[in-house]
């Protein structure tokens, strides 16, 4: 299988994005001149030290917080944010405890006004694909962490959006479950071909999944480097080109650690 084709018209473009937290004693710059590009069907990674403002970037893109300056373009059209065009998934599964797995999965469709019965039917069709067959009537507390996260992934896919914002989606899982879910995400991507913007602090995860990695610096966060991965999928963390890129990424991130210590 090939890596996603390189960009023709970027689906999403971000340019010169600035965002500060405004407090009484002045402004704390969080994002400084952030740029990125997501092509149709690409998986793009954003890595950076904890607390550097990765989630702020996502919240700004999703329209949960306003940006100070900068341009966001969707299919070449300038937009204030991309709310309504994206589905969103976090480290926390955010499943509603009073809803069954199936009804959690259809939350997005329900909000879009789809009838419950139709949404359920549609969800049932891909239930097996997410390895949740037979678990549709279970409540979240009856499911394992990995299963809950798959329900969340299913909910994200069923929103039927072109872009998925994934904010450390597997961060709370153990290493083995995380590997399994990364494979799952790839299968989901191969089947539905969404564009994915993936925040992670797991360098391996970024290398295994993404086409391109934007490395962010400490606050105020800027894009320090763009590292193209462009290897065939599925990838293994042990192959040579991946290890080379990993070394580069780790070097870039280590510089940030040194800067904090001084």
């Amino acid at each position: 299988m090939l890596a996603a084709e390189t960009v023709q018209v970027p689906l999403l473009e971000v340019e010169g994005l600035f965002k500060g937290l405004h407090k009484e004693d002045g402004t704390l710059e969080v994002l400084q001149d952030v740029f990125l590009e997501v092509g149709p069907g690409e998986i793009i990674g954003v890595v950076g030290p904890s607390g550097c403002g990765k989630s702020t970037l996502f919240n700004a893109l999703a329209g949960l917080i306003p940006i100070d300056r900068g341009r966001i373009r969707l299919n070449g059209q300038e937009v204030p944010n991309i709310r309504g065009q994206v589905a969103y998934m976090q480290q926390k599964d955010l499943l509603l405890p009073w809803r069954t797995a199936l009804d959690n999965a259809i939350l997005g469709m329900e909000i879009q006004g789809l009838k419950k019965s139709r949404a359920r039917k549609e969800a049932m069709e891909i239930l097996k694909f997410f390895g949740l067959e037979g678990f549709q009537d279970r409540y979240p507390h009856e499911l394992s962490g990995g299963m809950r996260q798959r329900v969340a992934l299913m909910r994200t896919i069923l929103c039927r959006k072109k872009i998925l914002l994934l904010d450390e989606p597997f961060g709370a899982l153990d290493a083995i479950t995380r590997l399994m879910l990364q494979r799952w995400l790839l299968r989901v991507w191969m089947r539905f071909r969404p564009s994915i913007l993936l925040i992670t602090h797991d360098v391996d995860e970024a290398l295994i999944l993404t086409d391109r990695i934007y490395v962010m610096s400490l606050r105020p966060a800027t894009i320090k480097r763009v590292v193209p991965v462009e290897l065939e999928r599925p990838r293994s963390a042990t192959e040579k080109p991946l290890i080379d890129r990993k070394a580069e990424l780790l070097r870039l991130l280590e510089e940030e650690i040194v800067e904090t210590e001084t």
Binding site: L64, A87, Y88, Q90, K92, W98, G108, E110, Q112, P140
Partner: protein
Amino acid sequence: MKRFWMDSILPFMLLVAIGVFWEAAVSIWHIPSYILPSPSRIILVIGERWNLLVANSLVTLGEITAGFVVALIGGVALALAIHSSRIVERATLPLVIASQTIPVFAIAPLLILWFGYGMGSKVVMAAIIVFFPIVINTVDGLRAADPDTISLLKVLEATPRQIMLKVRIPQALPFVFSGLKIGVAVSVIGAVIGEWVGAREGLGYLMIHANAQLQVDLVFAAIFCLSVMGVTLYALIGLLERHVVHWRGA
């Protein structure tokens, strides 16, 4: 199973022990029954005056139930208003809290004056008492929704109405039930005080009446009926809670 044993048998055994001690104390020290009737005598009276007790219990139960329903509807409505409007919150919440400093005993005569000797004044009394825990708990419950979940729904372009119906209200349900449980205990107090101050029927009325005639055993029988009623209502609400808030217990 062991848990069930501990939870239900131990209190029951303690109750029996107290009863035995009480029975013994009354007979050893020859306490006259117009001061303190023995448990056996109370049980006897309950049997003898069964019809009277049931009739009056039903009156009080009706008052409590009606007051409860009024408070539930009014309380949840006010809580929704407080939650959705800053102005309503600022205006009413301090008053709701301040109103709690007024003892219901103090306004009981006024309520009798305004709503009469019948059930109306007792319903109002019970409702006033139950209102507060329901409002406060429901407001807390509506605020308890996880901000990240709310963000998720906003990103999915949910309307405020959808957020309310799909997240906030279900999230508030366990809190509403906590309010109901507190409410059920105090509602009994409300209705009985109302009946003490002025009534023609009901367990409170029966107690005042019996007390005046030195029928202390009947007073105790009425108290017994009241506590059975309170415990039963509490258990019913617990049962309903387990059914409605099914995702919690497991």
